[in-house]
């Protein structure tokens, strides 16, 4: 059975079925979508279980020639690098559907688009052919645009167009970069595994790096190409925020790690110091901006910018531990930020505001939500026992030898994270109850299920990191061979 | 004087130039269509001329000319239909009064 293709296309198939479903009741659609994403998640877990952690090459490879004349094939497969992201995407998509329980506006279209989005993202992580990678990269755009543009907040059109234009500008550059790679050697191919290890002239590498990196730095997002992110998050519906921050941003880091590092290693080495500098700017800039936010979603969005800075730092270090830490940080941040956006969504559903300043003392009305939020905040500020600590610590350990000053400065981000996260929870939940919220409801059971599920995963990875590290180690180890050290 | 390829081509070029001039200068849509037909025929002349002088053993030039005539007929029918519709809507076939392509 082509397990990987099943995971990639099951949501799309479900979207097709949903689109043809004649029902009018929103519950039909959300139940069907939940079933489809849940099923996909189970399949991805099965993939995870079947994955051979001792085999460093691509596994579950499926190859179907598509346009043989230009060497373009439907080529998918997973290795230790992509596997965590495939599972992460499936998990967060499931959580996103569960977090959309209250969507009543055009539910059919909503869930159809959400499912197509899942196919697009999973495809990006599964694709082992550059053209296919690009294809899936673009597939994800359309549903994202519509989801923000139709189900978003008051400035949804501005945010949606900004998101799409930014990403498209990046992907245009990436397409050129991919084509340069395609034409740079014989035989011409888009297959990633055949492109790896090719000798490409240094100047060409630099050009390719700049072109493709632009697409990824937009997605990551890196300063100063990040301003689409807060807008998109603030306007996007909860589920879309979860996927956006949880997995879409990771496509940037994943891309740098998958495409740039193995394919243009000399350019990577050349640009590594610049990347490290960018990383530090990201960490501090994002964290400082968090201190000035009062909109919870903006705060979490800027914290994402800060946390993705560690990813960049880990990659820039070009050490096994740094790269492992970067992947770990991406996975961990996926869980944590997904959880945070779900929480913001629940709170918004109940209180219809995200303004931190308007809350106060909510713990008396919503103890369950307070507990979950506190745990999420602790995870976000990198407390030991949670996945965030393991990831950030690994990044620091990995990057210190290469960039001691950069690393030392970026540890300040950990302190700032504690500052804004604790400030947010304190301001919302502790102190005397703001009378405005005297009849606020606590989170319902169905809202708590995905929240506690994610906390469980965060704790699991935080307490027993080998769950993830054993897998990603493989991807990293393979990479060190190409880098030759 | 013997008829040579150059003569045919000059005739074709002249016809084409007349056609272009007509298509660009006339305001009446029907007249523009007529001018376009002239351009088609200029091309046909060139085709036949080449067929006669360059590769008489093949019929490719003649076949192309017949193709062009057929396509031109279809095109003319279509274009005249459009002109008819325009006239019904606007009571005019003056192309300067018609700027539907403007942004």
């Amino acid at each position: 059975m082509p397990l990987l293709s099943a995971i990639i296309f099951l949501p799309a198939l479900a979207a097709l079925v949903l689109a043809l479903l004649p029902a009018r009741d929103p519950r039909t659609f959300r139940n069907a979508a939940a079933a489809a994403t849940g099923m996909t998640f189970l399949l991805s877990l099965w993939l995870f279980a079947q994955f051979d952690v001792n085999n460093p090459s691509l596994q579950f490879v499926e190859r179907v020639p598509w346009v043989p004349a230009i060497g373009f094939a439907y080529l998918v497969g997973v290795d230790g690098l992509s596997l965590p992201f495939v599972v992460l995407t499936a998990l967060l998509s499931f959580c996103a559907v569960l977090g959309s329980w209250r969507v009543t506006l055009r539910p059919k279209e909503y869930f159809v688009l959400l499912l197509i989005l899942e196919t697009g993202i999973t495809g990006v992580f599964g694709a082992q052919d550059l053209a296919l990678f690009f294809l899936f990269w673009e597939v994800e755009l359309a549903p994202m645009f519509l989801l923000i543009g139709i189900w978003g907040g008051p400035r949804r059109e501005y945010a949606a167009i900004k998101f799409v234009l930014y990403t498209l500008a990046g992907s245009a550059a990436m397409l050129v970069g991919i084509l340069v790679l395609y034409f740079a050697g014989e035989p011409r191919t888009f297959a990633w595994s055949e492109l790896v290890g090719r000798q490409i002239a240094f100047e060409v590498q630099l050009v390719v790096f700049v072109l493709i990196f632009f697409a990824f730095v937009v997605k990551l997002p890196g300063f100063p190409f990040h301003t689409w992110l807060p807008d998109a998050h603030v306007e996007a519906p909860t589920a879309v925020s979860v996927l956006l921050a949880g997995v879409l941003l990771k496509m940037g880091g994943y891309g740098i790690r998958r495409l740039l590092l193995p394919l243009v290693p000399e350019a990577m080495r050349f640009f590594a110091p610049a990347l490290a500098l960018l990383a530090v700017v990201n960490v501090l800039y994002g964290a400082l901006l968090c201190l000035a936010q009062s909109d919870m979603k903006k705060l979490v969005a800027y914290s994402s910018i800060s946390h993705m800075g560690y990813v960049l730092l880990g990659i820039a270090a070009l050490t096994t531990v740094g790269l492992g830490g970067a992947v770990l940080q991406m996975v961990s941040h996926g869980f944590i930020t997904g959880l945070l956006f779900l929480l913001v969504g629940v709170l918004y559903d109940h209180a219809h505001t995200r303004d931190v300043g308007r809350f106060g003392g909510l713990v008396h009305r919503t103890p369950a939500l307070a507990v979950v939020t506190s745990l999420a905040a602790l995870a976000a500020l990198g407390l030991p026992g949670m996945s965030g600590f393991v990831a950030e610590y690994t990044v620091f350990v990995g990057s210190f030898a290469t960039f001691p000053w950069h690393t030392a400065v970026s540890t300040v981000g950990v302190l700032l994270a504690a500052g804004y996260m604790l400030w947010m929870t304190e301001r919302i939940f502790f102190g005397p109850l703001n009378p405005e919220w005297h009849d606020l409801d606590d989170a319902h059971r169905y809202e708590l299920v995905p929240l506690w599920g994610l906390i469980g995963v965060i704790l699991l990875v935080g307490l027993y990191p080998p769950v993830v590290t054993d897998v990603i180690d493989l991807g990293v180890g393979a990479l060190t061979r190409w880098l030759g050290g | 004087m013997e008829l040579r390829l150059e003569h045919v081509l000059v005739l074709s070029a002249l016809l084409f130039a007349i056609g272009v001039y007509g298509a660009l200068s006339r305001r009446n849509a029907v007249a523009i269509l007529l001018a376009i037909e002239v351009m088609f025929n200029a091309v046909n002349v060139a085709f036949v001329g080449f067929a006669r002088f360059v590769g008489p053993e093949h019929l490719a030039g003649q076949v192309f000319a017949i193709f062009v005539i057929t396509v031109a007929a279809a095109e003319a029918a279509l274009a005249l239909a459009i002109v008819m519709m325009l006239y019904r809507q606007r009571r005019s076939v003056n192309v300067e009064e018609i700027n539907l392509l403007r942004w």
Binding site: V321, G324, L383 | W103
Partner: protein, 650 residues
């Protein structure tokens, strides 16, 4: 037992999980579980200590996770240092647990309180047993978390929530240095295992300057956790937590972690004498500095908090002058007498419903056991022989003199005078003189800060109804605390009074030999002991003249030394400085950057968009819709292309 020493933190961890799982709304079950967990850990610790005294020494390292060739290691180490610390931590924690049964009775967050108390103990035990820097850091951070949770126990009070946050953030500021220090050592040695790093340092494999910097950075972590200057500001505010928590923080867990860390890394510090000297001077300065603030505080818990900072300074000074035994001995004696003092203060607060010294007075008649035990703790703190504090403080001062640091010795002696003065002042103000409370006014709103919290903890219920059990008798006349609390006081009184003598001179400095067998013991110096005793008696006498006999008017003295008094009272404006840095500088920078992000960065993005649209608006004028114009353009294009093709290069 030493082979399974991991069970010591595992036991309270198990009970913590049990309380969270099953006893969230069963207070009796919760405290039973919590005490059972810590009690069992305490017994196990004693067993471990016995084995270590018998010569056992165990170090077990295992992989937590690995990436490539890099192994992230954890494990446990049982040696004299950790064994002694295990017993100190578990006994004090057990005392606090038992005491809390009485003190926290009727609190709405009772089960939560005990669960976190357990977790706090777990975290501290994790530090004690840590054989690797990674594990040390992990539990170090968890200690910070637990202090956050417990200081913020009465989270309805904004001050409590703010104090909890402050404690977490200030200590984390120090932890940044700690983290970078760990990274430096890891980069230089490629391992997190302390023993291996120590071996490398012993071989002089690290450049001296590098090692000094790394150790100073590591010491930053200790500065934060052990509330040394300039990161001492969180500790006085941590008073917002329940008093038994303060006892735990001040005696055995949180602040002791910093001192313990320096002791644990002592072989590394010995490789960096400059760093050790910094430790000594930071310590002695902190001791002096904190004592000045203790002289004038009105809040009994704050007086004790400053005394903690000051005593921690002594410990650091002891370690800094190169005597592991002296520093750790003071940590040991201090753990018991400070726990005793805090729990006695809690007893006052419990019985008199105030923690303001100005609202007490004459309490010794109504709270005799509390009065006596407080006096014992006070004398130990003041360093009056034969109470425990005398011997440990004496050892530190002797070590300072021996190490050729007369300045340290002199400042330490001056601090000893102040120490004796302020603790005596607190005792006299609280227990002697005429009562400044009346039966009806005792529960007045202004005076019952800690107890206001009892109401505040009423989770989701009407505050007054749920807080009633405490306030009900709090409103009456002050009274002695229930036996469960006073029994603990008496139990702690024994080590506070005799611990120093028994493990010090009486047993031929057993403690010092046990912990640091290689350290050469200092001969007993009668002159030194006499000067220490004289300093203590001077402070006591001065306090008696001012607050007992009222021969010297404190008010008049304060008025004459007004600038000094104000500076001490306002805590030398360090809080204001931090407030300025945090509120003005940092938030100002954040706001400026927010403006920059919105107006400049995003402004450029929007400008690019606007420019594109403007260009489009301009260019679209070419689209006239005139068919002939289009035709002409096409024709012109054809001509140009044709010309290029014909005239261009072949």
């Amino acid at each position: 037992m030493v082979e399974v020493a991991w069970i010591i933190p595992a036991l309270p961890l198990a009970t913590f999980l049990l309380i969270v799982a099953v006893a969230r709304s069963a207070p009796r079950l919760a405290h039973a579980l919590a005490i059972a967990g810590v009690g069992a850990a305490c017994l196990a610790s004693v067993a471990v200590l016995a084995e270590v005294v018998g010569g056992a020494h165990v170090e077990r390292i295992m992989a937590w996770f690995r990436i490539g060739q890099t192994v992230f290691t954890v494990g446990w180490v049982v040696d004299p240092l950790s064994a002694a610390m295990l017993v100190i931590v578990t006994t004090v924690s057990l005392a606090v647990h038992v005491y809390s049964v009485g003190y926290m009775h009727g609190d709405a967050g009772y089960a939560r309180y005990f669960a976190f108390l357990n977790l706090f103990t777990v975290a501290m035990l994790g530090i004690v047993l840590a054989p690797t820097l990674l594990q040390l850091f992990v539990f170090w951070e968890l200690v910070g978390l637990c202090s956050y949770l417990l200081i913020g126990h009465w989270y309805r009070k904004p001050e409590a929530a703010a104090a909890a946050k402050k404690a977490f953030l200030v200590t984390r500021l120090g932890d940044l240095g700690f983290l970078v220090g760990i990274l430096m050592l890891w980069t230089a040695t490629g391992t997190f295992v302390l023993a291996e790093i120590e071996a490398k340092v012993a071989q002089h494999a690290l450049a001296p300057g590098f090692l000094t910097l790394a150790m100073l950075l590591l010491f930053c972590g200790a500065i934060g956790k052990s509330a040394q200057f300039p990161l001492h500001v969180w500790l006085p505010d941590a008073m917002e937590g329940p008093t038994p928590v303060s006892a735990l923080i001040h005696a055995a867990t949180m602040v002791a972690a910093g001192v313990y860390m320096v002791a644990r890394l002592f072989p590394l510090f010995e490789g960096a004498p400059t760093a050790l000297l910094v430790v000594a001077y930071v310590g002695i300065f902190t001791a002096f500095f904190a004592a000045t603030m203790g002289l004038v505080a009105h809040d009994v818990k704050r007086v004790l908090a400053y005394s903690t900072i000051s005593q921690l300074g002594y410990m650091m000074a002891g370690l800094g002058v190169g005597s592991l035994a002296a520093g750790m001995f003071h940590l040991f004696t201090h753990a018991y007498f400070k726990a005793l003092l805090f729990l006695a203060a809690g007893s006052i607060i419990h019985g008199a419903a105030t923690q303001d010294l100005r609202e007490m007075g004459g309490l010794r008649r109504v709270m005799p056991i509390t009065a006596i035990t407080f006096a014992v703790g006070g004398l130990a703190l003041a360093g009056v022989p034969p109470f425990s504090g005398f011997f440990s403080k004496d050892e530190i001062l002797a070590s300072a003199l021996h190490a050729g640091q007369p300045v340290l010795f002199a400042v330490g002696l001056a601090t000893a005078v102040m120490t004796a003065f302020y603790v005596s002042r607190a005792r006299l103000l609280a227990f002697w003189g005429a009562p400044r409370w009346s039966a009806s006014a005792a529960g007045s709103p202004g005076g019952s800060r800690d107890h206001a919290g009892h109401g505040g903890s009423a989770d989701g219920h009407d505050a007054h109804a749920a807080g009633a059990p405490h306030d009900a008798h709090g409103h009456g006349a002050p009274h002695e605390s229930p036996p469960v609390m006073t029994a603990v006081l008496v139990a702690l009184g024994i080590p506070a009074a005799l611990g120093g003598l028994l493990l010090g001179p009486a047993s031929g400095n057993w403690f010092a030999h046990f912990l640091a067998p290689l350290e050469k013991p200092l001969p007993f110096d009668l002159g030194l002991a006499a000067s220490g005793t004289a300093a203590a008696l001077l402070g006591l006498g001065l306090a008696w003249l001012m607050y007992g006999a009222r021969v010297i008017s404190p008010e008049a003295l304060a008025a004459r030394l007004r600038p000094l008094y104000v500076a001490c009272f306002r805590k030398w404006w360090v809080d204001e400085l931090y407030g300025f840095i945090a509120a003005r500088t940092l938030l100002g920078l954040a706001r400026a950057l927010a403006w920059f992000d919105l107006e400049v960065v995003d402004g450029v993005v929007n400008a690019v968009g606007a420019a594109t649209r403007a260009l489009g608006r301009g260019v679209r004028r070419l689209q006239s819709g005139q068919l002939p114009a289009y035709g002409l353009a096409i024709y012109a294009g054809v001509v140009v292309i044709a010309a290029l093709v014909m005239l261009g290069p072949r």
